[in-house]
Amino acid sequence: MVGMKNTNDMDNSYLNNDMSATGEIGSEITIENLSIQFPDKDGGAPVVALQNVNLEIKPGEFITLVGPSGCGKTTLLRTIADLQQPTTGSVNIRGKSPREIRKEKKFGIVFQNPVLYDWRTVRRNVCMPMELMGIPKKERTARVTKMLELVGLYDFGTKYPHELSGGMQQRVGIARALAIRPEILLMDEPFSALDEFTKEKLHVDLLRIWSKTKKTIIFVTHNISEAVLLSDRVVVLSPHPGRVSAIVDIDLERPRGLEIKDTDKFNALVSKVRNSFEGV
């Protein structure tokens, strides 16, 4: 695999494969021949959620997994997060397994629902993962303040989750994920339950946060325009069986704002992603 540079062929290959797959600096996450099958409940043929997925993700990259339901995009994210085990193939994160990275607490996860603890205030929700990590109280307080400022919720620290709007709750979830200073931020359709206006505001916020923190972000969505707006690369997944059908480079300049959505280039990229789906 060493030296296979930018082979942009469509048959699920090693894109941007500047480095070897052994996890040297230059490739953050290497996914090789990953297949996942779920046993059928009624004893029939197993459901193939993902088939032969190969993907390389660079450090600091914003990568989006996009596709219709049933394409395995969430399964792929969960496999990287060690919430799902591969049937065959492997996920390698800097030479380590997802399990090792999880145990080192290097993942920040933002779920589709905010998953906040309703008996804790906003501040204490953001604080919770740091308590698990044994971070001293002073440091925790400082980080919570910083994170809430980053997501624009500083004034809401003493509120309880049910007093916040859906968009605010999701921002608390993002602050909580970032507070542990993860190396990889995994986001599973975090904005899909929000209305269009809130979603756009959070897009702007997320772009700003990403440019400040420079985390590797893996973002799952079924919204093509969202994928193009946010990412460096869009991984297009097609269903039955779930597979990577294309990887589209998004070479829009940064920093990006919502106005970029009105450009021809943006729309061309959206069309390109849309036309990449197979069998939908």
Binding site: Y117, L132, H162
Partner: protein, 270 residues
């Protein structure tokens, strides 16, 4: 108009309407009883007669007025019920923890817990009394037996109700089991736990009164049966009925208050 509608539909108004309704029904029946029965006091006295008896300075048993007897005995009963309730709560909570931690424990324990619950308290009380040979201990044991089951089942339901995503969040943070319980499961199950307490607190008191009736030695139940056997005025009985009801309601209210102290976010919700 809307204002009036709001007041009529408010919680206090509903409670008020209920009280008025109950008093009316009570009084109608009491008037009927007064005309038809030879000893109406024993069947259903008027409410004012009961209130009068509370403030009556007459000594009932040589040294105490009726209300003094009722209140001092209520103290005895309540104290035992409270100890039993606390012990039962602790056992119930620990059982729920065990059953949640070990599936085997749940499979082994759960059906038999239900059987204990199905034995009528009237049947169980003499057995417990025979074993412990002490009325005070029996009160505690019976109150504990009645308490632990609602607490255990509700708490277990609370543990099981935690969403998968919350577990996954803890998993993704490689949380230790102890932390998962401390930071997620136990706080999550609190509303369920308190539902269990609200069910069992009045039950513990009822049980304690019931055990009192088995033997002398004080307690509301003991006075209740003496009063019914006409060892003292029947109004002691009627006062106990009301004091018992009030204690039961207060025990429920106390649990609600405790819940609000423990989970401050509840305040904002209501």
């Amino acid at each position: 108009m809307n204002q009036i509608k709001k007041i009529v539909q408010s919680k206090q108004m509903v409670t008020f309407a209920w009280i008025i309704g109950l008093v009316a029904v009570w009084e109608i029946i009491a008037s009927y009883v007064e005309k038809t029965k030879r000893t109406p006091d024993n069947v259903l006295p008027h409410l004012y007669q009961i209130v009068e008896s509370v403030f009556s300075p007459d000594l009932v048993n040589g040294s105490q007025t009726a209300i003094q007897i009722v209140l001092s005995n209520a103290g005895i009963t309540l104290f035992r019920a409270a100890i039993g309730f606390v012990i039962g709560t602790a056992i119930g909570f620990l059982l729920a923890l065990l059953m949640n931690m070990f599936t085997a424990a749940e499979k082994i324990a759960f059906p038999y817990l239900m059987i204990i619950q199905m034995i009528p308290i009237l049947g169980m009380a003499p057995i417990v009394l025979a074993i412990t040979k002490d009325i005070d201990t029996s009160r505690i044991v019976i109150a504990a037996i009645l308490t632990f089951y609602p607490v255990a089942t509700n708490t277990l339901a609370g543990f099981k109700s935690v969403e998968k995503e919350k577990h996954e969040l803890m998993y993704s943070l490689a949380a230790r089991k102890r932390d998962i319980y401390k930071k997620l499961l136990i706080p999550s199950c609190m509303p369920y736990f308190f539902t269990g307490l609200k069910i069992s607190a009045p039950m513990a008191i009822t049980a304690s009164i019931l055990v009192d009736t088995l033997q002398g030695g004080g307690g509301l139940g003991c006075m209740l049966s003496q009063s019914l056997k006409h060892a003292m005025t029947i109004y002691v009985f009627w006062q106990i009925v009301f004091v018992g009801a009030i204690i039961g309601i207060l025990s429920y209210a106390l649990m609600t208050l405790l819940e609000r102290l423990v989970s401050p976010n509840k305040k904002a919700k209501r």
